[in-house]
């Protein structure tokens, strides 16, 4: 039975007038993606999330609005926009759902970006337009069952067989993998050097089983990548990049998008909590009139405003190619943690209603548990900042 879906009443919150720092393109991009989310995501997301089903039809819509690689050049299937526009698009998508944002982040930052940056011109022509248009779905294989925070310990490997490489190993927690037409895979060569390559879904020996039972990002599909003697043509291996900096540069792009995206989830929770606090009455007045509710809401908008300023400044640095990986780590860590705390507080303001799917907060809260952990855990990003300011490596 289909339940009537509540209207998405979301309104943007800009307490410090940060919109004045944005250009016309940024505002247009934001309103376009917001309209798309209200039309295509909000009416279906609770149902798909409830059923742990991936709304695969949205890939085409994400491609059509230009959410895949918006900051890549137009001639390679991108949108030719700046980094702030990319951030804003991720924010609006995550305002709808972190899983939908993840679908776009992976395609743009983790698949199109490495192909654009590291692949041969032939590979770019072969894959990028199809990825940009949504004809191909991509995924990114770095994390392994036994190597999450320590990717350099990976055991997935390639052996040079003369006219091709032989790929063996497995990857874990791969967004989009069961649907993917291609996978950007990182594996060690015989000298132990990390290399990147494109693996196509119909290559014999390659499979991508789905991971079931997630209580988070339920509308996003996640799987493994299993390689058993997969013959990878030599031209599929990225010629120009060796070592961990290849995958890490992609992660910097994706983490940058998450730093913006998490604000979207936080804004949606705050928006819902603020409206609920003005409508819900107890003891003869709206619960927003009580000091403890005001404390929660005031702290939420303060934290959101700080995160917005952090993201905007990071975006300005990124536009000048000056954002360091450590600066991106700080923003990802701060903004995701901020969003998760706001989701939890917003859940409290909604009282019992907060645990139902009549409101978006518990879905965001459960999603953000993943966002806190993927693309570098909360603790790992702390250690990156720690190393950056002290000069000491505390990872090992």
């Amino acid at each position: 039975m289909h339940k009537k879906v509540a209207q998405d009443k979301y309104q943007h919150h800009d307490y410090y007038g940060i919109d004045a720092l944005l250009t016309e393109d940024h505002l247009l991009a934001r309103s376009a993606v917001r309209e798309w989310v209200k039309k295509e995501v909000s009416p279906i997301i609770e149902d798909y999330s409830n059923r742990a089903a991936c709304p695969t039809h949205l890939f085409k819509g994400l491609a059509d609005i230009g959410a895949f690689g918006p900051s890549l050049p137009m001639e390679y299937g991108g949108g030719g926009m700046d980094e702030i526009a990319y951030g804003i698009i991720m924010q609006e998508l995550e305002r709808g759902d972190s899983g939908i944002r993840s679908m776009a982040s992976v395609q743009g930052s983790l698949v199109m970006y490495p192909i654009y940056r590291y692949a041969s011109e032939e590979q770019k022509q072969k894959y990028l337009p199809k990825l940009g248009s949504g004809e191909y779905i991509g995924c990114f294989g770095l994390t392994e069952p036994d190597h999450g925070s320590n990717p350099s310990g990976m055991i997935t490997n390639i052996k040079d067989m003369g006219d091709h490489y032989l790929l063996n190993g497995s990857k874990m927690w791969i967004t989009n993998s069961p649907l993917a037409d291609i996978a950007v895979v990182w594996a060690k060569d015989e000298e132990g050097v990390i290399r990147g390559m494109v693996v196509e879904k119909d290559m014999p020996g390659f499979s991508a089983p789905e991971i079931h039972g997630k209580w988070s990002l339920r509308a996003s599909i996640t799987g493994e990548l299993v390689f058993e003697d997969v013959k990878v043509p030599k031209e599929n291996v990225f010629p120009d990049i060796k070592g961990l900096k290849g995958p890490l540069s992609c992660l910097s792009k994706a983490r940058y998008g998450i730093a913006w995206g998490a604000i979207g989830a936080a804004l949606d929770c705050y928006d819902s909590a603020l409206r609920y606090s003005q409508e819900r009455e107890q003891f003869g007045k709206p619960i927003g009139a009580f000091q403890l509710t005001q404390k929660k809401l005031a702290e939420m908008i303060t934290e959101i405003t700080k995160a917005q300023l952090l993201a905007w400044r990071l975006g300005s640095l990124a536009n000048d190619s000056k954002a360091t990986p450590a600066q991106i780590s700080m923003a990802k860590r701060n903004n995701v943690d901020m969003a998760l705390n706001i989701a939890r507080e917003a859940r409290q303001i909604h009282g019992g209603m907060g645990i139902t799917n009549e409101y978006p907060v518990m879905r965001h809260m459960m999603n953000l548990e993943t966002v806190l952990t993927y693309e570098g855990t909360h603790d790992i990003h702390l250690l990156i900042t720690g190393m950056d300011v002290t000069g000491f490596n505390a990872f090992k």
Binding site: Q11, E24, D25, L28, A32, I65, M74, G79, M81
Partner: protein, 246 residues
């Protein structure tokens, strides 16, 4: 087929509406603005469809200050070829219609589109005024249109049904739901829009004939009262004394 599409800027539908200056001015502080949905979803998109089918050019026109440019850019991002903004505050329908008609006279437009109404002030007279000033036909509340050469067959929403009319170009058409389907601009369109011309033309100094004296908000609706099923007397009393329906 060359089209002119009139676009208006309206407050976002969830905006909180308040007034200042003794309730004579709409307080725009903190209000987010959008393109009037009837102009955007139906009028503009139908003009773009006509261009896709029959060729020609789509020009959008707005009467207003520079702060309207973001709405105009959106129309360009959705697919209009060029834009014109008549640089003056829009004060009443006659003034706006006169400015648009004056501009339309300088071009060679087969069709002038606009939404059937604006969602802010419920304005719906602009189309008729433009048609009158240009001495051409006006078809209102159009929900379907087929064009063959210089003849258009149009379905109009009328009370309880549909009227089918035929008209020769040029004419003015006001768009209702059904005439086209909303298009959301994509990122590529937004970037292309920057390179499209937005011409700012001076006002022809037409004076408004109507001025607003006061706005009044509707009275707040009272909440729902739940009556216990066993207390029929109370239900009858409320229906009789408060709702006054029996």
């Amino acid at each position: 087929m060359n089209s002119l599409v009139c676009i208006s800027k309206t407050p976002e539908t969830t905006a909180k509406i308040s007034f200042n200056d003794n309730n004579s001015q709409f307080d725009t502080e903190g209000v987010q603005f959008i393109m009037n949905p009837y102009d955007e979803w139906y009028a503009l998109v139908r003009a773009l469809e006509a261009k896709e089918q029959h060729g020609g050019e789509v020009t959008v026109i707005n009467v207003g200050p520079a702060s309207n440019d973001v709405v105009i850019r959106k129309a360009l991002a959705i697919g209009a070829d060029k834009a014109v903004r008549v640089d003056t505050e829009a004060n009443d329908a006659f003034q706006v219609a006169s400015e648009i008609a004056n501009y339309a006279k300088t071009g060679n437009f087969d069709l002038i589109y606009l939404g059937k109404e604006t969602i802010d002030y419920n304005g719906a007279e602009l189309g008729a005024m433009i048609a009158e000033l240009l001495d051409i036909a006006y078809i209102s509340f159009a929900s379907k249109m087929e064009v063959d050469g210089n003849v258009a067959k149009i379905e109009r929403d009328i009370e309880g049904g549909i009227e089918v009319v035929e008209v020769q170009t040029p004419f003015v058409i006001s768009a209702a739901k059904g005439l086209a389907e909303q298009r959301i601009p994509n990122m590529r369109g937004i970037m292309m829009a920057k390179r499209k011309p937005l011409e700012v033309v001076p006002s022809s100094s037409v004076q408004a004939k109507v001025s607003v004296k006061e706005y009044k908000l509707p009275e707040m609706k009272s909440g729902v009262k739940l009556v216990d099923p066993d207390n029929m007397d109370e239900l009858v009393r409320l229906l009789s004394e408060e709702a006054k329906v029996i």
